[in-house]
């Protein structure tokens, strides 16, 4: 029984972590329809930027984290302005170009030798508490709090602000959005930049649990993709449900079968969902046009 309870608590935390990883990707790709396959690389980029600020420049942690989030947003903006804007609208060119950028960023960190346990970030508060008989560290609790805040904030942003509605508008019908006075290039730029910022935020909160590794970038991209595909495009609620499905499945396989099977379970989940319900669990947008 305590094992089950522990698994449930950690599965819950794991789900929030997944949601947090996917939320930025969901904003750029799921909601505004701009494919950013460099997402995992931006996540890792911001973690290394914080690490460098902390250990090479020697600025305090909060400042380093803020600077790295801003830097990542700038990187996203530059990437959109100078590369993505030229291939905008050709979805596959967007994918190939951003995938190329992501590869270049991740592999250059690997080449420069940024691999090892010394590349990690400090936790915010080094403490742990007992919650319903389960030991849990404060960092994980903070992840749950920050993650929930970000998810709620994003839902409010995309449903109740002019900018958020414009994000959804360009994904639904870019030409109609143009006639309504939405500058689609500006909105797409903002969505890539905000998505990058959310990736950086997720990295700042999540990375202290482990260490920074270039390979992690691919995993983050795959997980974000998985959550977005299963949840269905343009649906913040779907993203959350999907991250809970994958999060619980992963943690339970980890506890009751073997840790080697965790990745397989989440990948198999994508295949099953795509096969049975190609538009995702809650996807509504462009069902016919994009998928079938």
């Amino acid at each position: 029984m305590p094992m089950l309870l522990g698994t449930v608590v950690y599965a819950f935390v794991n789900s929030i972590i997944l949601a947090l990883m996917a939320i930025g990707f969901n904003l750029t790709f799921g909601i505004s329809g701009v494919a950013n396959f460099a997402y995992g690389a931006l996540y890792i980029f911001s973690a290394y930027a914080t690490w460098m600020g902390l250990n090479l420049v020697g600025i305090p942690y909060p400042v380093a984290a803020t600077v790295s989030i801003l830097l990542t947003m700038l990187a996203g903006t530059l990437m959109y302005r100078f590369i993505l804007m030229r291939v905008r609208g050709q979805a596959l060119s967007e994918v190939i170009a951003t995938f190329g950028i992501g590869l270049a960023i991740l592999e250059i960190f690997r080449y420069l030798g940024f691999v090892g346990f010394e590349y990690n970030l400090p936790v915010f508060v080094d403490d742990s508490i007992v919650l319903a008989g389960v030991f849990i560290d404060v960092q994980r609790l903070l992840i749950v709090i920050i993650g929930s805040a970000v998810i709620l904030g994003l839902w409010w942003f995309t449903h109740h602000t002019r900018l958020g509605l414009a994000f959804r508008g360009i994904a639904q019908d870019e030409r109609t959005a143009l006639t309504l006075g939405i500058d689609s290039d500006r909105i797409a730029l903002l969505s890539v930049s905000l998505g990058a910022g959310l990736a950086a935020l997720a990295a700042t909160v999540i990375i202290p649990l482990g260490s920074i590794a270039p390979g992690e970038g691919y995993d983050v991209l795959i997980k974000a993709l998985a959550v977005c595909i299963i949840g269905g495009l343009g649906s913040t609620g779907g993203t959350i449900v999907a991250s809970f499905v994958i999060g619980f499945a992963e943690r339970f396989t980890d506890t009751y079968i073997s840790s080697q099977w965790t990745m397989i379970v989440s990948l198999a989940a994508i295949l099953v969902v795509l096969t049975l319900k190609p538009s995702g669990l809650f996807g509504k947008q462009k069902e016919l046009e994009e998928r079938i």
Partner: protein, 334 residues
């Protein structure tokens, strides 16, 4: 005074377009040159190269086959981000046949090409209805998943792989087999894309719903295209297994997915010749860059971005245009 650039077909291009081409050596050369010269050069190349560069030519041909297979799929509107799936499947099938049943390579390679292709097609069959990016995502995920599956279940040698494959009988057979396969695939599939069958495939890429409207079952055609492409990929994988005498998890590596795409993008997608040209540029380049190790993949990434943005048509189409047309500045009537 404003000017614009006008492109005009060269006279020789127009003349050699019809039957008069058969009357003049110049026009015959103009037509045959770009086809015959590279073929003869590629066939003579192994004789001129040392052992090391023969191996490089071998991997050029393997990557060219993967790039051709990618391009064929792309022509049917299916963008694959996981050519490693086809490559790895071929490699594992031949490995299993050779390791457990000890069949000779000349039997296992064709068998692996056909059955590896069939398995890949069966794996992708459920997601054939997906279009665009969604299909790409699934192809990106599948090889990763198979790697983890082999790691977790420890089947077929697990993380260590299967060793001690039978090598091909001779070095010359090896090199000419793969070069011949590459040339056959290149010219054969170019011809295939020119037929009515190829037209249907391209139609599916351009507008699948109007192809459906014409009463053609696009899923059946997509399945066929998928099988053709994955057989080509599986052949390359099976061949490479017998060269390295080893099959293991590295056959699903990212290299085998990224390099073919990079080759097709650099050389120019759509013509198959562009994909081959791209492999002939990128693979030797990566050999030269071997000293920089992991930085190679960074270069591929940068190459992808630069070509997608600056020369989206690719080198082949650029050269083809220069060969067939000339350009001049004309005044714009205002």
């Amino acid at each position: 005074m404003q000017k614009r650039r006008e492109r005009v077909d060269r006279g020789i291009n127009v003349r050699s377009g019809d039957v008069f081409a058969l009357c003049s050596w110049r026009e015959m050369l103009y037509l045959a040159g770009p086809r015959v010269i590279p073929v003869v050069a590629i066939l003579l190349l192994p004789l001129a190269l040392g052992i090391y560069w023969q191996k490089v030519l071998l991997s050029v041909a393997v990557f060219a086959l993967l790039a051709i297979s990618w391009d064929l799929l792309a022509q049917t509107g299916m963008i694959s981000l996981g050519q490693a799936l086809f490559f790895g499947m071929g490699a594992y099938v031949t490995g299993i046949l050779n390791h457990y049943w000890e069949l000779p390579p000349l039997l296992t390679i064709p068998a692996a090409a056909v059955f590896g292709g069939l398995i890949c097609t069966a794996l992708l069959l459920p997601v054939l209805r997906l279009r665009g990016i969604y299909f790409s995502m699934v192809t990106l995920i599948l090889p990763l998943m198979l790697v983890r599956l082999i790691e977790a279940t420890r089947i077929f040698g697990g993380t260590e792989g299967l060793t001690g494959m039978t090598p091909l009988p001779s070095r010359w057979l090896e090199i000419y087999l793969i070069v011949g396969a590459m040339l056959a695939a290149l010219f054969g599939f170019r011809r295939l894309l020119g037929t009515d069958y190829g037209l249907v495939l391209k139609g599916i890429r351009d507008n699948d719903r109007s192809v459906t409207n014409a009463g053609i079952n696009i899923y059946w055609y997509k399945t066929q295209a998928l099988w053709i492409a994955s057989t080509v990929g599986a052949f390359a994988g099976a061949f490479m297994t017998h060269v390295y005498m080893f099959v293991g998890m590295p056959v699903f590596a990212l290299d085998y997915s990224i390099l073919p795409i990079a080759a097709a993008v650099v050389g120019g997608p759509g013509s198959l010749a562009g994909a081959t040209l791209g492999a002939f540029i990128l693979v030797p380049l990566s050999e030269v860059l071997r000293g920089v190790g992991g930085l190679r993949i960074v270069f591929y990434g940068v190459f992808l971005v630069v070509f997608i943005v600056a020369l989206p048509e690719g080198i082949f189409h650029y050269v083809q245009r220069k060969y067939n047309q000339f350009e001049r500045w004309v005044e714009v009537d205002t």
